[in-house]
Structure formats: C-alpha cells, structure tokens
C-alpha cells in the first residue's frame, strides 16, 4: 500500500488515465537525468482527484512515485490549489515533518490537469491493517508521541511563511457559520446536528486564525512502517485556524476503525497526546477546548456523510457506496449525543 490509496472508489473518474509518456515528460523536466516510466496505475479516485502509482526509472534505477491530479478547474471550493498543496507539503518537510518529497508540480502544458508527483513512501496506508496487525504493535506504541510532535511542529510554523499560499480559513465563528451553511444546503433536518451546532455556538468563540491546520490529520492519512509514522499524507484540506482542531479531528470516532477504546486514532490515549504535544513545544491543551474540537470534528464527519449521500441523491456521483455512507449519519448522531451528554466518546 502506498500514499493516498484509501480514498473512496468512484466511478466516473478518471476520464482518461495519464499515459507513461506524459508522466515521463513531467519527470524529465523536473530532474536532469535519464528518466523512463514503465507503468502508471490508478490507485483510487475521489470525486475530483485521482491518485496513480508511477513505476519510473531514474538513471536506470527504480524510482517509485505517486501522481496526484485533478481535472483542471475541478479542485473543490475551499480546497487548496494543487500547486499550493505541494508547496505546503514541502514546507512541512523542511520543518521536520515526515512527508513524501515533492518531485514535480504539473503545468497546464502537461495536459494532466492540476497536480504533482511525489515520492512513493514504503509502508502501510490502510489504517484497519496497521491498527490491528501485530506487525505494527511497536509502531503503535510510539505513534501518539510522533503525532503530537508533528502537530506541535506544524502549529509552530510562522504564518508569514505561507503568506503566498491560498490557504483558506479564518475566524472560528466564521468557520462554524460556513459549516452550518453547508449543512443547510443539503435540505436535511437532523435535530442532533442542529443541537451540535447550538452546542458549538455556545463554546467555539471567534478566535482569529493563529496556526496552519493540516485539516485531515487522521489514521487514514498516515503511512506507517515498523518504526511508526513514515509520512503524513493529504494536505489538501489544510487551512488557517486553531491548532487544537487537528487534535480533535484525530480523536473522532470514525478514524478509530472500531478500536473505539483508544480515543487517539484507535491507537492512543488523549492525555498522552496532550502531554506529548506540550512537551514538543505545542501549547498546553485546554481540555474543554479539545473536547469542543472533538465535537466539531465529529459533526464535520457527519456533514461529509451527508455530502456523500447528497452526491448520490443529487445525481452528481451516482454510487451505491455513497448512498450507503449517507446512512452512516445516524452513527455520527449517536456519537455526538454521547460526546455532549457524557463529555467523551
């Protein structure tokens, strides 16, 4: 398993797969070496982007890569342009965060849409596997502190260093309002979601964005090897906000893949995460604030379920998978009620 292989399977994408010749041309431009590409194989595709394994050779040596691209103009509203995503991923790498090295950024003349080519990191990307297999028992024991260190480093990156990137985000209150508008756009009445929005409104405040937030830091977006966290993937939902949002999202029940007794991603304990985060230079974690972000993250996953169900109902992407995920809204409602009634899940 490699970077980005756990996305939703979606019919309708790709319209045409990139050819080895087209990818070779991109690579030749990027490095002054003898480059060849033997194979470009689709790994998975989201609604608007797709990921390919690229088996290349560089000066005769194997060069395993991943191509991530979106049809031109198809990057979702509020998502980071692919070139900026690549730039942020590289910046994170320079700050000591394990990421796949960016090899090349696509240009319009490449004819492949928006996207980039990155190193293919060896390891396991399927969270249900690395969360449960004995092969990764040692990796799991160090993962909580590794995640805490990554987030502490990311949240300490000065905002001036991303001034040139189109990172969305802003005040907490505005972010809550955007999330509520998204909910209302589906014309669905969920009393539990409305209850959660009301609960958040009493607590989220309206703090100014103070940090770079990864935005999708969860078990499904890691590459894990025997030593733990080998790479943090999928920077496309990065935004400016409050660092604790990443801590809450990491603890959402959906990313525990059934290992619900371990609140941190199915592998760790909250207190260990918070302590390691502070020890690595992150802020002291306010427990009530972290809880607020867990409710926020859980609700956000609920809206993603609604969105996927809506894709099917509206005909945007007809898919039995999306229709079925729409029925996961009730799980999220139950988690929200547990969180709000009992203070955790």
């Amino acid at each position: 398993m490699v970077n980005g292989s756990t996305k939703l399977l979606t019919p309708g994408w790709p319209v045409t797969d990139p050819t080895p010749e087209a990818v070779a041309a991109v690579l030749t431009r990027a490095v002054a070496c003898d480059v060849s590409v033997a194979r470009v194989a689709a790994l998975s595709g989201g609604a608007a982007s797709a990921t390919y394994a690229v088996d290349a050779q560089r000066d005769g040596l194997p060069w395993p890569l991943v191509l991530q691209c979106a049809a031109a103009g198809d990057v979702a509203d509020g998502a980071l342009p692919k070139a900026d995503q690549a730039a942020l991923q590289s910046l994170a790498g320079r700050h000591g965060i394990p990421v796949a090295e960016i090899v090349a950024v696509l240009r319009p003349e490449d004819g492949l849409g928006e996207g980039f080519v990155m190193a293919r990191i060896a390891g396991e990307a399927l969270a249900p596997k690395w969360l449960k297999s004995d092969d990764y028992a040692a990796a799991r024991t160090v993962l909580t502190s590794q995640c805490a260190r990554v987030l502490a480093r990311l949240h300490a990156v000065p905002l001036v260093s991303v001034a040139g990137l189109a990172l969305p985000g802003g005040r907490t209150g505005a972010a809550r309002a955007r999330m509520f508008a998204l909910y209302r756009s589906f014309s669905v009445n969920s009393p539990v979601f409305d209850l959660a929005f009301a609960w958040l409104a009493e607590r989220c405040g309206d703090a100014e964005a103070a940090a770079i937030v990864h935005g999708d830091f969860r078990s499904g977006n890691f590459i894990i090897d025997a030593t733990g966290l080998a790479a943090v993937l999928d920077w496309e939902l990065a935004h400016l906000g409050e660092g604790a949002e990443d801590l809450g999202w990491l603890c959402a029940n959906a990313w525990r893949f059934g290992v619900w007794q371990k609140p941190v991603g199915g592998f760790g304990e909250r207190e260990a995460l918070y302590d390691a985060y502070a020890a690595a230079g992150g802020a002291q974690v306010d427990r009530a604030r972290a809880h607020m972000w867990e409710v926020w993250g859980t609700l956000r996953w609920g809206l993603a379920c609604l969105q996927l169900g809506h894709d099917h109902v509206s005909g945007r992407v007809r898919s039995v998978e999306r229709a079925a995920i729409g029925r996961r809204v009730s799980e999220v409602e139950l988690d929200l009620l547990h969180l709000i009634r009992f203070g955790d899940i």
């Binding site: 399977l9 019919p11 009445n189 969920s190 009393p191 539990v192 409305d194 209850l195 929005f197 009301a198 609960w199 009493e202 029940n253 059934g258 619900w260 898919s319 039995v320 998978e321 229709a323 079925a324 029925r327 996961r328 009730s330 799980e331 409602e333 139950l334 988690d335 009620l337 547990h338 709000i340 009634r341 899940i345």
Partner: protein
C-alpha cells in the same frame, strides 16, 4: 399470507443473488457488491424494525403532540435554530438518544456506541 412474494422475500432473493456472483467479481465491482449487500441488510432491518415509527414516537412524546416524522424533525430543528431549545433543555438529549438508537439499530447494529448508549 396475502402476498406470495413479500418485500422481505425480494430483499432476500437479491441478497442471495449478490452472494452467488461474489466469486465472479473483482476490484471495484466486488467492493461495490459488498456495499450493496450491506445496504440490503439495512433495508431488511428497516422493514422488520420500523425505526421511523420509534423515532416519531420519541420526538412526538418530547414535543407533546402528534405529527408526521418529517414535521417533527423540522419543528425540533427550527426551535433549536431559533434558540427556543438548547442542549441544556431538560429531556431533549434523552429523547434524541431514543430516536437515534432506533436508527442506528437498523443502519449499523454492531456500532460500538450503540451498545454503550443502550446500556445506560
């Protein structure tokens, strides 16, 4: 029986068909066939358990008047949006829990939070 083939029999027949072609499928089709079979299980449980009636009873009981489920949901949402109901309003969390427990018992009866909430 008034109907030779009840809807439950149709659901079972389609589920059995999906199972019979499992071995012939691979990749995306095999995955979607699994999802489809799972979706049919939801349909079968919904037919057997009538969760909408349970949700309707819970919401009507809380609001103190009868109405269709969609109207009850809309009323609760409207009152929450207007601030007339809040998370602190007595009995609201309990009523919503009863409603959602009935739904999850149909959508995913093995969901861990369900057993935790039912055990309270």
């Amino acid at each position: 029986m008034s109907e030779q083939i009840e809807v439950t029999a149709l659901v079972e027949a389609v589920a059995a068909f999906l199972k019979s072609i499992e071995g012939e499928l691979s990749g995306r089709s095999a995955f979607h066939a699994k999802v489809a079979a799972n979706a049919l299980s939801i349909v079968a449980r919904e037919l057997a358990q009538a969760p909408r009636a349970a949700e309707q009873a819970a919401l009507a009981g809380y609001l103190g008047h009868a109405a269709g489920l969609d109207a009850l949901r809309a009323e609760l949402c409207g009152r929450l949006r207007a601030g007339q109901l809040t998370p602190e309003t007595p009995g609201l969390l309990e009523a919503l829990s009863a409603a959602v427990i009935a739904k999850v018992a149909v959508d995913n009866p093995r969901y861990a939070t369900l057993a935790r909430m039912q055990g309270l």
